[in-house]
């Protein structure tokens, strides 16, 4: 299929948003810049086009020998600076709502307490560790996922992340090999996963049943194009169910592996 008419004009002028407050705030900041940019664009391109067409060489025309105009030059320098001052002020006004996680909703799941991560004012959050590796994303759910995830037997999943709705989710992002970049456009901006560093971001998704697409945004090798990230939003109770079934599935798989291991070592094949 070459043409997708329904999706063809999606996000022509504005970034993706709608999944999480930080993505929405970035979108509105972007739009403020876009409106100012549109005015500048029309003004400058208009002046250029007008002067090229209006002042074409004709027999009767003699070029005005003007060397400059200091007040005019100072004027447009100041005007350019003023536009940038406005954008700076707007950015710093908007910034807290983009970087600081808000409180989780009233009936949301979770608690966690860690010193380095960003934390919502009331401290209620769900921590998920995101680990990039060539060429897959791994997610470990729950407090202590950075250190001691194995000891605590925390549940984990690959590629598809499951999160409870209306809950502030904090992501602790790491990489085990090369640099990757975590990015699900509708849920906010991207954050690099750099080996040797832990980076953080957050999102708070409200729509139960929504599935958000993203993928690694930093070249990480030959199969970079297939390093997909997806976030599935569940109801808080649905999330609890998923967690326990995932834990059981992991346990079953571990048991099968250890059974296989004992069979193999008993028969001398390991």
């Amino acid at each position: 299929m070459l043409v997708e008419p329904s999706a063809a004009l999606a996000n022509f002028f504005t970034p993706k948003s709608g999944g999480s407050p930080n993505a929405n705030e970035i979108d509105s900041l972007y739009k403020i810049v876009l409106y100012m940019a549109a005015v500048v664009f029309v003004f400058v391109e208009g002046a250029l086009l007008y002067s090229v067409i209006r002042f074409r060489a004709k027999k009767s025309r003699v070029a005005a020998q003007i060397h400059g105009n200091t007040p005019l030059e100072i004027g447009w320098t100041v005007a350019a600076a003023l536009i940038l001052v406005v954008i700076t002020v707007v950015t710093f006004v908007k910034l807290p709502s983009i970087i600081n996680p808000p409180n989780s909703g009233a009936n949301a799941t979770f608690l966690s307490a860690s010193v380095n991560e960003p934390t919502p004012p009331n401290g209620k959050k769900l921590t998920i560790c995101v680990q990039g590796r060539q060429f897959i994303w791994r997610y470990v759910y729950g407090n202590g996922c950075l250190n001691g995830a194995f000891a605590a037997k925390l549940p984990y999943s690959y590629t598809e992340m499951y999160v409870p709705a209306r809950t502030t989710v904090i992501l602790d992002i790491q990489s085990s090999d090369v640099i990757h970049s975590w990015w699900v456009p509708s849920l906010g901006g991207k954050v690099d996963a750099v080996p040797g560093y832990t980076t953080y971001t957050w999102f708070k998704a409200d729509k139960v049943g929504a599935l958000y697409h993203g993928q690694c945004a930093q070249l990480c090798g030959r199969q970079h194009a297939f390093m997909i990230a997806q976030v599935k939003v569940l109801s808080p109770s649905g999330y609890q169910q998923w967690l326990s079934s995932q834990s059981q599935a992991i346990n079953r798989a571990n048991q099968q592996v250890s059974q296989l291991r004992s069979i193999l070592s008993a028969s001398g094949n390991l």
Binding site: M1, P15, V40, F41, T88, H224
Partner: protein, 577 residues
């Protein structure tokens, strides 16, 4: 000073319809014997021959880089395409980026600089002619080392080569080392060239050419040289550290041994962002020469344009981390780099306003060169505006590493630098070859390129906003990217046809172009004072410079002395050849 009126005496027989352009001849020079031996090119230290070799070589690399881009566009023209594998695609994107930056845009500016710096300042050669030849041969060697990897394993970690991906563990092939040597060789080439430009411009100007009378192109080349001297040693050191990490057991960038991949990013972009201005400032210089000549007006705000060039260069060394907004860096640092990046928008805006003001109330002669210059401004404005979006770091978190960025820097470098280079080619080709290019083919080439360019890159903004990351070799249908990608690919081929038309024009006009004479455009600067092409010594007499537009003064003087006046501003014949 001898003063005669045109037509200029030409030794070779000319077809009747190719009559020379009527013009004032200000200065006659003795023609040396024309040597045709190839060894003269290899052994030469003449800045003009070296300049021509630079231009020809860099255009070969431009074509190679263009073919690489077209292959990538073909691969992306539809989802799940299997034309290229991930490995081939990564190789192509590394080759394309590296070629266009290190082997085309930076050295092509050195090519123009080599040919025109001595001519425009009234010098007989560069300050260090043999060093100049060495610069060229190092560039060629760098290109050969790099392209020889095509027969082995080309590098695949991108032109930015972030470790750990570029480390020995994840990029074991020698292609990565060839990339490092390319940076070394072209780096030394550019560094020597920069020192040479600096020494030439500071020491060898014509009598009377004070700092306030230097042509704006020369200001641009001077600042280009200073920026190269500041930036290149840093990347030279960085790639050396990468080399020792790869082969000699150091751990500068190795996170498993307390090294830091972020260190590389700082070092690389401390070079990488000045590099952007290294590529675009000489283009600004070309535009600042072309627009006044074809508006028949003095440049508006000479001092402001010259000063803004210097301010841009200063700020260019303070904005590097805006390439790293998604890296682990504290918010306060991001704020600093946002503000410094904003600041650079101001002098850039000043230049654009000054160019438009130069056109304003002029008597504009619409030559191909002016088409490309105006096209440059139109396109560059878009690149400048999208640059402001990217400088707002929270917005950049959405846009960084997407096709929005690809669109942005192609508006700056392809639409910007390349259109200015083409403007310079149409402007100076008659000086270099003695022949005019076809104006009708030039204008047709402009329109095809302009349409193809915007078709290719405008939709890439939308692709990025729709969430398509850069550097992926394929994608799934249903993401909303398919249509945009197809449009972009078709545009790329249209753009290629437009570039092809200029290449045909370049080659075809060598033999068939009209005889240009010394000053077909009524130029303002001293290169138009001597014959086309200039003799080996450039000038038999070097005139005293009394303003920013010495050639204009000389032309007036000659006209007064001979009583012959030329139509000013009227429809000159060359405007509709």
């Amino acid at each position: 000073m001898s003063a005669i009126t045109a037509p200029e005496a030409e030794s070779r027989p000319v077809e009747t319809e190719l009559r020379p352009v009527p013009q004032v001849l200000a200065h006659e020079v003795a023609r040396p014997r024309q040597s045709k031996r190839w060894i003269d090119w290899v052994m030469t230290t003449d800045h003009k021959k070296i300049g021509i070799m630079y231009l020809v070589l860099t255009f070969v690399f431009f074509i190679l880089g263009g073919v690489e881009a077209l292959l990538m566009r073909l691969q992306l023209s539809q989802p799940n395409n299997t034309l290229l594998t991930g490995e081939r695609y990564n190789e192509l994107l590394t080759l394309h980026g590296t070629t266009m930056i290190f082997l085309f845009v930076v050295p092509v500016m050195a090519g123009f600089g080599n040919y025109f710096v001595p001519l425009m300042i009234g010098a007989r050669d560069m300050a260090f002619p043999r060093l100049n030849a060495l610069s060229f041969w190092l560039l060629l060697t760098g290109g050969i080392v790099f392209y020889s990897t095509l027969f082995f394993n080309p590098p695949e970690a991108g032109w930015w080569s972030y470790p750990p991906l570029s480390s020995i563990q994840f990029s074991p092939s020698g292609g990565q080392d060839a990339w490092i040597f390319l940076i070394h060789l072209t780096g030394i080439s550019s560094l020597l060239g920069a020192i040479n430009f600096y020494a030439t411009i500071v020491n060898m100007r014509a009598p009377g050419m004070s700092w306030g009378r230097i042509p704006l192109f020369i200001w641009a080349i001077l600042v280009y040289a200073i920026l190269l001297i500041i930036a290149l040693p840093v990347v030279g050191a960085a790639v050396t550290m990468l080399l020792t990490d790869r082969h000699f057991g150091t751990h500068f960038f190795d996170p498993t041994a307390h090294g830091s991949p972020v260190l590389w990013q700082h070092l690389f972009w401390f070079f990488g962002h000045p590099e952007v201005y290294i590529m675009i400032l000489p283009g600004f210089g070309i535009i600042s020469e072309v627009i006044p000549v074809f508006s028949r007006k003095p440049v508006f705000g000479y001092k402001a344009i010259a000063a803004s060039t210097a301010v841009i260069a200063f700020l260019a060394t303070l904005v590097w981390a805006h390439h790293m907004f998604a890296s682990p860096i504290p918010i306060v640092v991001l704020g600093f780099f946002m503000l410094s990046s904003f600041l650079i928008g101001i002098p850039t805006g000043v230049k654009i306003f000054n160019w438009i003001a130069t056109l304003w109330r002029g008597s504009i002669v619409l030559t191909s060169s002016l088409y490309f210059a105006v096209g440059f401004i139109a396109i560059f404005v878009v690149g400048g505006i999208t640059g402001i979006f990217l400088a707002v770091f929270p917005v950049d978190w959405q846009l960084n590493d997407t096709y929005f960025v690809v669109a942005h820097f192609h508006y700056v470098l392809m639409g910007g630098a390349v259109f200015s280079i083409f403007s310079g080619l149409y402007y100076w080709y008659p000086k270099i070859t003695g022949r005019l290019m076809s104006e009708s083919l030039g204008k047709a080439s402009f329109w095809v390129m302009f349409i193809g360019f915007n078709m290719t890159f405008f939709v890439q903004h939308a692709l990025g906003l729709s969430g398509m990351p850069r550097r992926i070799y394929t994608y799934q249908p249903g993401e909303g990217w398919t249509t945009y990608n197809l449009i972009s690919t078709i545009g790329a081929f249209i753009l290629a046809v437009g570039i092809g038309m200029t290449i045909i024009n370049l080659v075809g006009s060598l033999k068939r172009g009209r005889i240009a004479g010394p000053d077909p455009w009524k130029g303002n600067t001293l290169e138009w004072f001597t014959s086309s092409p200039p003799p080996e010594n450039n000038f038999d007499v070097i005139p005293r410079v009394r303003s920013v537009e010495p050639m204009r003064d000389i032309r007036r003087q000659v006209e007064r002395a001979t009583g012959v006046t030329q139509k000013t501003g009227g429809s000159e014949r060359f405007s509709r050849v």
